[in-house]
């Protein structure tokens, strides 16, 4: 069963007054990709998640969280 992650991408983008196209250009992806990630229709790969993390200077888990609420059972 597929579960998509929730994320704060839209909020972080809005805080910087960036359009989806602006963010897409900075991440080197299409605007549709940014929209799909923001709406939870596409979970980014680990390399793209790291690019997002570096762009916003925040740890990945501060931008994305899965349905377990960060509890990985470790």
């Amino acid at each position: 069963m597929s579960t998509s992650m929730k994320n704060r991408l839209k909020v972080l983008r809005a805080e910087r007054d960036w359009s989806q196209a602006d963010l897409a250009l900075r991440l080197d992806v299409s605007r549709q990709a940014v929209n799909a990630i923001e709406t939870g229709k596409h979970d980014p790969s680990l390399p793209l998640a790291f690019r997002i993390s570096r762009l916003f200077a925040m740890p990945i888990e501060a931008i994305f969280n899965d349905s377990n609420g960060g509890q990985n059972g470790a």
Binding site: W18, S19, A21, D22, A24, L25, R26, D28, V29, S30, R31, Q32, A33, A36, I37, K41, H42, P44, S45, L48
Partner: protein, 153 residues
């Protein structure tokens, strides 16, 4: 540098360079597809009517073609198209690649379900003989529909 590109994206072109390259390749592919279709129709007309009135009505999908034209079209499909596809696959981002693979998955499933059903019903004398060209176009239509749906919806 990137600030300038962002400004340009805002002011003029909403497409990222990657997406612009993507669309250029897609446009080129459509031009080649149009050329391919036009050559099929012209070649079929050159050779006279085909033996299948139904496909004739859709634009000459069956019947004989000039041999030299078939070699040229086969080379176009078998050599030029894979090269363009390779450039395209290196251009698209992971979201589009995912949408493309979803389209392939659904179309392959439809093929694996639909083609044997048609074939077995034909063996029972209930339907017309399976048509490879029809199956090919149906497969690609499903492929394209799912791919675009996953990309833009």
């Amino acid at each position: 540098m990137i600030a300038m590109e962002v400004k340009m994206a805002r002011d003029k072109d909403p497409l990222t360079p990657r997406e612009a390259r993507n669309r250029t390749i897609m446009a080129l592919s459509m031009v080649i597809g149009g050329f391919f279709a036009a050559a099929l129709i012209a070649g079929s007309q050159w050779m006279g009517e085909s033996n299948n009135a139904y496909w004739d009505s859709l634009g000459a999908f069956s019947g004989p073609l000039p041999p030299l034209l078939t070699v040229a079209l086969a080379a176009l499909w078998g050599i030029v198209l894979p090269i363009i596809s390779l450039f395209w696959m290196r251009t698209i981002d992971e979201h589009e690649r995912s949408a493309y693979r979803d389209g392939a998955e659904v179309a392959a499933f439809a093929y694996m379900m639909g083609a044997p059903i048609w074939w077995i019903l034909w063996r029972g004398g209930l339907v017309a003989e399976p048509d490879g060209v029809f199956i090919f176009f149906t497969f690609n239509s499903i492929y394209l529909a799912v791919w675009l749906w996953r990309k833009y919806h």
